[in-house]
Symmetry: C2
DNA sequence: ACAACACTTGATGAATCAATGAATTGTTTT
DNA sequence: AAAACAATTCATTGATTCATCAAGTGTTGT
């Protein structure tokens, strides 16, 4: 055998060719969004908001979960600007922040659906 | 003022109309993928694989990070079937598992790019 | 003003996650 | 077979995350 013809001088740990570096801040921001979406309870909650805006007690009722827990999840999602909130009297109505987020969730649910 | 005309009898915590429930298992799976993508180091790694397949030491070299750490991240990503691996001699070449994942990452990086 | 309702915040503890370095496995080269 | 190289696994430790429940804020109705 005559050595590795894989990628000429590809293992020098020098600057790699043909590899596009993504700016670090962008990865950080994108990862933060994924992290916020990466929890079953939060994602279940968000999947409800795919239908329409809902107030906290509605969500709590539908998911049959602690109202405080729901509120905390919403707070986290708000901090990542995944949901937005609107007050109407005593009620706080939450909805998905934008189409981008909506698409991301739809895409992931579709993927989770077809695979296994 | 004459009470809330928001949504007639919307706060009875009964079965909510107009809200589509997503199957629990699908949310779990989708959340697991998001969780795996929800880490800056892993996402940076994956952003490299957007360009082309790479072996562990290449990735470690480009990211200037501990080889063991890179290998562990890849193991996790493999366990979620986000990346696939192929052996070639001493080298293990990693690449993105499918177009769905690729799209998800591209989408998120685009979002992270335009916003703030 | 006071009670009731809708929600948020704070504090605590349990569980999960991730970085590190040492030891190990697998492959190729000599 | 031994040395060199590529990558993985293991164990430890520190950090982060999540649920729970009590206490607090803001709004409305009487």
């Amino acid at each position: 055998m005559h050595g590795d013809e894989l990628e000429p001088e590809a293992h020098e740990h020098s600057i790699q060719p043909n590899v596009q570096m993504v700016e670090s801040g962008i990865c950080d921001r994108a990862a933060a969004i994924f992290r916020a979406l990466g929890d079953s309870n939060r994602l279940r909650l968000l999947s409800l908001l795919m239908s329409r805006e809902l107030c906290v007690s509605e969500i709590s009722g539908i998911l049959d979960d602690n109202l405080s827990a729901v509120s905390q999840r919403l707070k986290l999602l708000r901090s990542e600007r995944i949901v937005v909130v609107r007050r109407e009297g005593k009620h706080m109505f939450y909805s998905l922040a934008d189409g981008h987020i909506r698409e991301l969730i739809a895409n992931a649910l579709a993927h989770g659906n077809e695979h296994d």
